[in-house]
């Protein structure tokens, strides 16, 4: 392969300048003449029937310009994917605390508040269900939703069931020399993007349409929902994504509601309408990471060879499905870990409850299940008295192996390399031995102990069986010889704009400074599915590569015509085109000649993921076309007198394939690990009778700069042939192994397993939570002052 000039070379983010200067305008930063502000009336009950709802008194309040309920939308504002169970504003029932019931737009804050207070809303409380296992019992109160796969057949609170079936693990487990049979659990996690939700809708002067500035991750999904609930064609709805202040999977479904509300209000009022959110309102109304309860059985030989696994997952979806059926599906697929087994079954049950609602969050089910299976592997290593890295190396997936689903793997698998890399760079063998010996010796005398733990993962690339998997780009050369491009996939922080720019520059042999990516806009870009699942580099990057190749071939045609030579005689030296006479011609001259020829210097390209097939009914198939692999080691000190855990080192090795944007990929590794550290030690959203217990950063703690050590990140650049220039994904898998590596390190330090995340102070100190009386106070205050 030719020497690469831009891919993998030091580069800067293309959108950093406006952000460091403070001039980047996020959705809440827009100020337009005549702009109204809007807010929702929200439920303060976890489950209730709406007995009476009348917004006409709000319209009498001076300064209120529009007030709406679900009845102002087509089909009550019903939307959702894959289950259409949500509404733009509540329809007949509310099912969680914070659910939006009505929305008001007004000229001033005072009028807005008076308008919301004037709404007549009577709620009749209904019994709620707050535990996913209770919810699945036949006599449980019903959340009142229908199952995913059979909308007409009542099936209690069961949203969906997923399975994996490969062989029969039962007889193997029964005869195993060593049987591990353990329960683990994970908690709700808040995305905690620093930018809360916001949206601005601007009605068109002709009254026929609306432009929405929305920080949703997936503008085309947003537009689709808007068209549906507003009864408008795609030509009358335009969604533009301003800079987004972090998303992590958390800016889709609830933003679609928000945009629906502001769009309707703007169309009715004939004025721009902006809705912004306090942190409290954001935390109360937005979806969270799904909590999971995981029962793992693994049978192994005394030598350490794994034989069979059986995993049961119970997933709390909360009041609405959002994307949870697929989160649970990804969890279901990854629940047994990146290991070889003779047989494997997974059974996943997803329950509706009245605990807020859940959806996508970085890692999308795999963060949860890997946290559990990787603790199980550690427990198994202890029982077998085998080093945890050795046990993983003995059993982990290698090139040419079959996954636990029976999927044959290619030569891109690099888990052994990742494990060996972190073993070496963390000085694992020495530390494991020395800390282990010190912890054995110390009993009461040494309150501060050290430990080191490992975890590894695989992570299916892109959507797999979750939907049509393709991406599209467009590109054109402009009058000033700059090049603009679009992608149907967006960049809400991870750096894909820069990745796309570097790929385009590499293919075209032109300087990155020539390229500018259009702001994501449904009127200029082409739909490419949602921006989720760490899809941007592989899917969007390939679309960009193809687009750039097509534009490049147009330029070479023009150059050949200019030189009067054949295509193969055109050579390149950077931006220069060189003909048979060895006379260099500038890019500008080639472009000008192309114009004289009447050539359109624009191109588009689409890339489709290699095919996959998964039978939801049989639990068999090829769930993803390929996987990312990674391993991390964490080192901790644990103060056994206080329960305080300090993470003193993290070493990460990820099978990223070719690195395109080095600074960006390290940023993803550091950031993902930091979210994983929070997930391991401190982050936990508790619901008590459906009421969220922490509504701001004073009680919901996320890692600060002093909670995180300097991280040592490594990329294992094994070439991945389907990826652009051999690249794989990184954003989600960077987070996946972190929490189990940390809790395994705590186990190494203390000898005590904390099977429930997070391993917070009291769990580390006394092994269980301090009983705390929950209350509805934080939620009610948060909603009042939203």
């Amino acid at each position: 392969m030719a020497e690469l000039k831009y891919v993998g070379k030091p580069a800067r983010r293309v959108d950093a300048l406006e952000k460091v200067l403070g001039t980047a305008k996020y959705a809440a930063d827009y100020r337009l003449p005549g702009m109204l502000r809007a807010r929702c009336l929200r439920s303060d009950l976890p489950h209730a029937r709406i007995v009476r709802l009348d917004v006409t008194p709000a319209l009498q309040v001076p300064g209120v310009k529009a007030a709406i309920t679900g009845e102002d939308f087509v089909n009550h504002g019903n939307f959702g994917y894959p289950v259409q169970d949500m509404y733009m504003l509540a329809h007949e029932h509310v099912r969680y605390v914070g659910e939006a019931i009505a929305a008001v737009a007004a000229e001033t804050e005072e009028a807005l508040e008076a308008g919301l207070n004037a709404i007549i809303c009577e709620l009749e409380p209904l019994p709620g269900v707050f535990d996913p296992e209770e919810a699945l019992k036949p006599d449980a109160p019903l959340v009142g939703q229908q199952p995913w796969d059979s909308p007409t057949e009542p099936r209690g609170n069961l949203l969906v069931k997923h399975i994996v079936r490969n062989g029969d693990p039962d007889p193997i487990l029964a005869q195993s020399e060593v049987l591990l049979d353990e329960h683990y659990s994970t908690a709700h996690q808040e995305h905690a993007y620093i930018e809360t939700e916001a949206a601005l809708a601007v009605p068109w002067p002709d009254g026929n349409g609306v432009t929405v500035y929305s920080p949703s991750q997936s503008p085309f999904n947003d537009r689709g929902n808007l068209c549906r609930v507003l009864g408008l064609g795609v030509e009358n709805v335009r969604v533009i994504q301003p800079p987004v202040g972090g998303a992590f999977g958390g800016k889709d479904d609830q933003i679609y509601q928000t945009t629906g509300q502001v769009a309707k209000l703007a169309l009715l009022a004939g004025r721009p309408v902006q809705m912004t959110f306090s942190r409290e309102e954001s935390m109360i109304f937005s979806y969270k990471r799904n909590p999971m309860r995981v029962h793992i059985r693994i049978g192994a030989d005394r030598s350490g060879k794994l034989r069979a696994s059986k995993v049961n997952l119970v997933v709390d979806s909360g009041a609405y499905s959002a994307i949870t059926p697929f989160v649970a599906w990804r969890g279901n697929i990854h629940a047994m870990g990146a290991y070889r087994y003779d047989a494997c079954h997974v059974d996943t049950h997803v329950a509706y409850t009245n605990n807020g609602y859940t959806g996508a969050f970085r890692g999308f089910g795999n963060t949860e299940t890997t946290a559990c299976i990787e603790q199980a592997m550690d427990d198994l290593a202890t029982r077998l008295d085998i080093d945890p890295i050795e046990l993983r190396l003995m059993n982990c997936l290698r090139p040419g192996d079959e996954t636990a689903h029976g999927q044959p793997l290619g030569d891109d698998v690099a888990l052994v390399e990742c494990l060996e890399r972190v073993r070496r760079v963390s000085d694992w063998d020495r530390k494991r031995r020395e800390y282990g010996a010190a912890n054995q010796k110390s009993s009461v005398g040494a309150p501060v102990r050290r430990g080191i733990g490992v975890a590894c993962c695989f992570h299916g690339i892109s959507l797999g069986a979750e939907g049509a998997d393709f991406a599209v780009s467009t590109m054109q050369v402009n009058d000033d010889h700059s090049i603009t491009f679009t992608s149907g996939l967006t960049d809400y922080g991870p750096g894909s704009r820069t990745v796309f720019t570097l790929i385009a520059a590499e293919v075209l042999g032109l300087k990155p400074e020539r390229f500018h990516m259009h702001r994501p806009d449904t009127d200029t870009a082409i739909a490419s599915g949602p921006t989720v699942a760490s899809r941007a580099t592989v899917m969007g990057g390939n679309a960009m590569r193809i687009t750039a190749e097509r534009l490049n071939s147009l330029l070479h045609h023009a150059a050949a015509d200019l030189f009067g030579c054949s295509l193969v005689q055109v050579l390149r030296d950077g931006e220069l085109f060189i003909g048979p006479q060895e006379e260099p011609v500038s890019f500008e001259d080639v472009v000008n000649h192309a114009r004289e020829m009447g050539l359109m210097l624009s191109a588009h390209g689409r890339w489709d993921a290699p095919s996959i097939h998964w039978s939801m009914e049989d639990g068999t198939g090829k769930p993803y076309f390929a996987y990312h692999y990674g391993a991390q080691v964490a080192e901790v000190t644990v103060d056994t007198g206080t329960g305080k855990v300090d993470v003193t080192g993290i070493w990460a090795a990820h099978n990223t394939g070719t690195v395109i944007f080095p600074q960006g990929i390290l940023g993803q590794i550091y950031g993902g690990i930091t979210q994983g550290l929070g997930y391991a030690l401190m982050e936990r959203v508790d619901f008590d009778q459906g009421y969220l217990q922490a509504t701001n950063f004073d009680e919901y703690l996320i890692p600060t700069a002093v909670d995180v050590p300097d991280i040592d990140g490594h990329c294992v650049e094994k070439y991945f042939s389907p990826g652009p220039f051999g690249a794989k994904n990184i954003a989600e898998p960077a987070m996946v192994p972190t929490a189990p590596a940390i809790v395994n390190a705590i186990f190494h330090a203390t000898g005590r397993r904390i099977p429930d995340l997070p391993a917070n102070l009291e769990r580390v100190l006394i092994g269980h939570d301090l009983r705390q009386q929950g209350s509805d106070r934080a939620c009610k205050l948060g909603l009042k002052h939203a």
């Binding site: 809440a28 942190r279 940023g667 930091t674």
Partner: protein, 165 residues
């Protein structure tokens, strides 16, 4: 009431209610939206500004408290040419920016530290930005950017000493 203060080096005089926060004043009465609201309770640092050189959460300061004092927001941090200053340029060069929402506050936290201490250790830098939450970067490249700026400015300071010495 009329609130008069120095804003990014220039006199400012704004008619505003007495009970609003400095953050609200900056964003909604003056139109400087580089200062962000992330929590409204002084926990996240997205609204950080310098008040007489001290790093403060502008959501916790009442607007009239700025009266007669010197306020510096992200819009006031610029190089001689009006572009990014050295710290901002190092944020760009060292990958310290992802979504960017915390970055104005982070830059001001960095400036507040470097005004007092040009020889900070990495843990000094981490302490100095511990009141500013970032959910994207894991802080490491932000620490790099501040550390490198400190080194550069030490060099500049030495050069100045030599010139004047």
């Amino acid at each position: 009431m009329k609130i008069e203060f120095t804003l990014n080096g220039h006199p400012a005089s704004v008619e505003a209610p007495a009970d609003i926060s400095l953050l609200h004043l900056l964003r909604d009465y003056i139109g400087l939206t580089g200062t962000k609201e992330g929590c409204g309770v002084g926990e996240c640092g997205a609204c950080s500004v310098l008040l007489d050189g001290q790093l403060v959460n502008s959501c916790l300061i009442l607007a009239p408290q700025a009266g007669g004092r010197e306020v510096v927001t992200i819009e006031g941090i610029r190089g001689a040419d009006g572009g990014p200053n050295d710290l901002q340029q190092n944020f760009i060069d060292h990958g310290a920016v992802q979504c960017g929402y915390c970055i104005p506050g982070m830059v001001l936290a960095g400036e507040a530290l470097l005004a007092k201490n040009l020889t900070p250790s990495r843990s000094d830098i981490r302490e100095a930005i511990a009141g500013n939450l970032c959910r994207c970067t894991g802080y490491q490249q932000i620490v790099d950017a501040i550390e490198i700026t400190a080194i550069d400015r030490r060099g500049e300071a030495r050069k100045t000493e030599v010139t004047h010495g």
